[in-house]
Point group: C2
Chain length 567, copies 2
């Protein structure tokens, strides 16, 4: 079943649900008219359908491999990358000074989601470049920007992120990679990095690594870390890729999925690098890149959910079973339940993702601190819920296929294997939840409570036309408010962390209901109103048990010792 | 991390939670003393640890394959099968007249669970034989029993189940395989069957297929289906495997997991078979086999949950990350939450599985209709919840491993890929749920409501020592009773089916709480009481949102048409 880009869904969401009109009304993004949005989405959708979707299974069957130390990519991926680059999709939201389109993140996020739906393992390559482009644009010197940004934006060169080290894992501050000044303005970077997505390829002239390392006078922990740009090939006097740098791909991981994306162990042996941002200021620069990437990974989850949903729906519409006259398995109540649940969750996750992107655009356009706080608040929710939905929808997609779901040829299993990593990389979903209840509540809960006020206000206004749904959304929001206040009252962070994951999920459930209600208001008597009713009646109630768990605190959790768990 | 058989967990559950003393008190199973139970579990555990666990990864890396039409199994599987056979584990609950041990199903289920934890793909082979042994014992002629049962029980020969056909899927009644009398008491069986687990092997002299097919005068649907025993090699005059029958393995499936288990497309071309049971009475015989297999598949889920839990726990206990002095990631609240959730769910699923087995044993020993109804009621719950827990625990196990979870070498991903099929085969979990709310409530809900009475009675008795937990269990049971009565009141089966899956899950949540409370009562101040409190406080509340969904009916579900879903 070929992938169909859900262009009209984006258009509906932008217009009626996530308030994109505010973005288009700013000077910064005044070009983003409805016609332009439609043209961009249609064009990117076409490329995703025609160029990328056919590569999805090839990448799974023919993973990237190392041939005498040279990385070879899956068949067709080189042409796929070129199509993405030539469409301008890598530099969509990039700075026009360097060849970018300067479009809103909301549009870039939509396009990224379509590419991720069509071929996740290839889409990860431009996503990594986009993060690097944004980090350099915000933190690099003009010299570095002039040299690197045009080539990254055009796709002549590609970018990667190098954070993880074997002993450090999620504790980035424990890294041991080192950098020393060479005396000529460059640095010698030495160390080993693991889990480097697209650490190399055979279709760009150069691969540019952003590497976290510690200078000799760097203090232990995150405050002693600096960020370096370390290219595979050193630029020559004309700024072209020249001689090889002292770095290499040591090996590739053998993964559960995402086979088309090479996951590299990278070795740096005194490789020449350039400082990005200030000495010991690497984490700030890295966070720019990570926040971008976190929303992007949330979008990967949403995209995979769309792909898996389309495939399962297509199967259910076509699969005749036994003697049911004329019917297919979509007429079974439980198959219908699965598909409708998938669609309702997909809508919720996509709306949250786009609302986060809108907040980022408003922050960019207005420099307003409230929008910045809104973007920061929604990022971990968009990442964790988007990927959780991706995994759940892909899983359910397998189930809709019955026995055929377990057979690789159908492709249903591949969605499930590929999307699984999205809940792990760019900060596990547990880390996203901890970020939500700790760092994102350092404002005393202002950003969260302000959002809940808005949701309740919208629910109040919806009472006239949709009283039952409005009341359910209002009540659930009140419960979330109480839970938020409980979180804020906990001085011991472990009491928050013990319930962070269910709290985040409940927050997403309420946000999803809010956006479904908005959709219902704009589609009276239509399918979107019926889908909203399904979600609010059947799926929103989950928030109550999640919030019960969120407020249990750490005591009962740690009452079971490690010995108890092992007994 | 090597697998350790949880022998003491079984002993605790049998003694304090699921009432195995009733089984041991019957004449039929009077040999099952505590010492004997302990000896059996210890011996089977040792075999699982030492022989089977080392094969788990080999089977994944080196799947069974067809070599010029001859099926070759994964390295070591032949020796593994012999160890299982020689231990007597295939015929544990088999009729002693034919060489079986005649032990309670409760013990066989425990042993099967250990074998499934250690190496799921190999364990599936004896599980298939066990189903065939039981079906033949109940339905075959004495001649067939005398010839086949000793060899199946000893493991000289193996057995399979042949239900599924490409066009029929879950609708068994739509099958098109045919059988015609040969005039000599045998039948010629012709047709194609798919998804035949262990349809062949290279370590038994013969493979015996139970095949569903329709006689010329068989009416359409399930009432016209007969069951035939069709061996790969026809028995010679001495009852040994003789000349080849007219059947073959056409191809093997390429699956997401369970690579060590060959999943065959089987072709029968006028193959010689013998009728099992009455003409057109095939479904009754098949149900004997399927009910056995459904509990067994539930046990596969529980076993895989145990294996995945042990591996994740071991990783969390050993994995140091960054600068945490002395600590490992098990000290993180969210890692602790994941592991404790896994353990609590595993306990619940295992208790439900064993309670179902106890009911089967009591039915066997007493012929009491109430026990038969209890076994019938619990079977779909044990199957669906056991496998759902297997999948969820394996998934969470991947997450506990962080980035390493996505790397195949750790084995965490294999649990997740292997166990996935258990929610699909032997009747999808959706079909189990439909069975629960339809067929298993044809008694007007007597069996279900009687069980709820017992749970409430136990909760009442627990109030004195555990008032808060007892109240929570009592209240949840009341909610489940209301929901059960709602189900019973629905005349249109689609209204039941629309909420069948959440209803089954809520039922399992309540049963799990009931068994956790029993464990708490027997372990005052101990780790099992703390685990019960965790489950009842944090996980039981889920029943409320599940029951809300269970009682929504079909109207809102079918309000979204197939066109709406595709829009």
């Amino acid at each position: 079943m070929p992938y169909r880009a859900p262009v009209s869904d984006y258009e509906f969401l932008l217009r009626h649900v996530v308030g994109f009109d505010q973005v288009a009304a700013t000077d910064r993004f005044s070009e983003a008219s409805a016609d332009m949005v439609s043209a961009i989405l249609t064009e990117a959708g076409k490329m995703s359908e025609e160029v990328m979707a056919p590569l999805q299974r090839d990448g799974d069957l023919h993973p990237a491999w190392l041939e005498n130390g040279v990385l070879r990519t899956s068949p067709g991926y080189s042409a796929g990358w070129k199509a993405i680059a030539e469409g301008g999709w890598i530099g969509m939201s990039g700075n026009p000074e360097y060849g970018g389109m300067g479009l809103p993140m909301t549009l870039a996020t939509s396009v990224n989601e379509m590419m991720a739906a069509a071929c996740l393992s290839l889409q990860l390559a431009p996503l990594m470049s986009q993060g690097q482009i944004e980090a350099l644009d915000h933190h690099a010197s003009d010299e570095l920007k002039d040299l690197y940004l045009p080539k990254l934006i055009s796709g002549e060169w590609a970018g990667t992120m190098n954070l993880t080290e074997p002993q450090a894992g999620s504790d980035v501050g424990a890294l041991s990679s080192k950098a020393e000044a060479n005396g000529d303005g460059t640095y010698a970077v030495t160390g080993q990095k693991i889990f480097i997505s697209w650490g190399d390829n055979d279709f760009t002239e150069n691969v540019c690594h952003l590497v976290l390392a510690r200078l000799p006078d760097g203090v232990p922990g995150t405050k002693g870390i600096s960020l370096f740009l370390v290219p595979k090939r050193l630029p020559d006097e004309n700024g072209n890729a020249g001689v090889a740098n002292s770095l290499k791909v040591v090996s590739l991981e053998h993964k559960m999925g995402l086979h088309g994306s090479p996951t590299c162990v990278m070795q740096y042996d005194g490789a020449t690098g350039w400082l990005v941002g200030k000495e010991h200021g690497g984490m700030a620069a890295m966070f720019t890149m990570m926040n971008n990437a976190r929303l992007g990974v949330g979008g990967q989850g949403v995209g995979q959910a769309e792909g898996a949903y389309q495939q399962a729906l297509s199967y259910a519409l076509e699969r005749k079973q036994g003697n049911t006259p004329g019917g297919t398995i979509i007429d079974h109540a439980d198959v219908r339940r699965m598909l409708t649940t998938m669609k309702a969750d997909l809508f919720a996750a996509r709306a949250i993702m786009l609302a986060c992107a809108v907040a980022i655009d408003m922050q960019t356009a207005t420099n307003d601190a409230d929008w910045a706080a809104r973007a920061a608040l929604l990022t971990p929710i968009a990442k964790a819920f988007g990927t959780d939905v991706g995994i759940a929808v892909a899983e359910t997609g397998v189930q809709v296929h019955g026995g055929m779901g377990f057979i690789e040829e159908t492709g249903a299993a591949q969605f499930s294997r590929d999307v699984r990593v999205t809940a792990i990389y760019e900060g596990t979903n547990g880390i996203q939840a901890m970020d939500l209840v700790a760092r994102k509540m350092m404002d005393g809960g202002d950003a969260a409570l302000r959002l809940l006020d808005e949701i309740e206000g919208d629910a109040e206004r919806a009472r006239a036309s949709n009283p039952a749904m409005a009341e359910a959304v209002w009540q659930a929001t009140e419960s979330l408010r109480e839970s938020t206040e409980w979180m804020l009252a906990q001085g011991d962070m472990n009491d928050r962390f013990a319930g962070a994951v269910p709290y985040l999920r409940a927050f997403a459930r309420v946000l999803g209901a809010h956006f479904h209600l908005a959709a219902a208001q704009s589609d009276k008597g239509g399918a979107r109103e019926r889908l909203a009713r399904f979600y609010i009646t059947r799926m929103l109630p989950e928030h109550a048990s999640l919030l019960a768990q969120a407020q249990c605190g750490a005591e009962g959790l740690f009452a079971l010792s490690a010995d108890d768990l092992a007994a």
